[in-house]
Amino acid sequence: MKGRRITVLLCENSAWKAWIDAAGQGPDAAKRLEGLDPVKLPCTGKVEEGMVLKLLENGSAGVLVLGCPKDNCTYVRGNYRAEKRIASVRAALREAGLDDGLVRLDFLSSLDSRKLLDIAAEFRASVLEGVRQ
């Protein structure tokens, strides 16, 4: 059953730190993160196709994956692996007749809290309100 909450899978080496920073930036920032459930991962290379599909199946309205900038992965190629796996998930969603925009991958550093807030707000608007930029 599709819910109104979004799961955000965050690499602990970059995006998770940006999330902590963003969440502490006051009420406006906190409001922009409402409805988003953060999950800390050791690396976006941990993200697997079945995991993302299971999140959607179990009620997440969308899944946002945020990892380290390209060529700056602690585990060297984790974010490249995530990129291929998310492409595979999006293909599976299209095959199932669903919108592949329910899943998005982006890359940011631990200093990119503003960028994280923008991506999160944009993704929520896209998934929950059908607003595409």
Partner: protein, 223 residues
Amino acid sequence: MITAVRKPFAEIAGMLEGSRKVLILGCGTCVTVCMAGGEKEVGILASTLRLANEKEGRRMDIVEATIERQCDREFFDTVRDKVAEADVVLSLACGVGVQFFGEVFPEKPVLPGLDTKFYGAAIAQGVWAERCSGCGTCVIADFGGVCPVTRCSKSLLNGPCGGSQKGKCEVDPVNIDCGWQLIYDRLKALGQLAKLEAVRPIKDWSSGSHGGPGKIVKEDAVL
């Protein structure tokens, strides 16, 4: 190992149309290793089907299970209850496993979720290539350990055809090496080029698939 790839989703969804209770049954051996029909792939397919069914408003109860092998009878014992409850079983085993399931459970409809490809090796992570055709009488001792039956697109036993160009096969000059170039290079490296002077007689293909369904009986193992 036996290699396979998953059938297109639309084909699988079409086969399952009208089914109310489906067991997706993975196989824990070859197709797990080649990432086509193991526990993870069962989960991915099940989730995708459930999402598609929810969107279309279809009622279908999907159960997931994976057993060690679908080519040995005893491993099915662990899923007998799940099989009994299912209208239909979608097997993610190779063609051997799908058929053997049907022999163990003759009353239960079984569908193939994979397209079985070949006997292959993992030549790189995520890349599998054919190495054996199961012809029944192995000849690679005379060819430097490279199989002319499998590696030559025409299964030639007495040298290359005219379609060998720059080490590649005319069937697909980008992706397929000329098997006979491989044989020559290997024998040369081994100092065994003289082996190529022998003329091979016509091969008896009846020991393989051309001789009908094969059977092996190992008397000391028979109860």
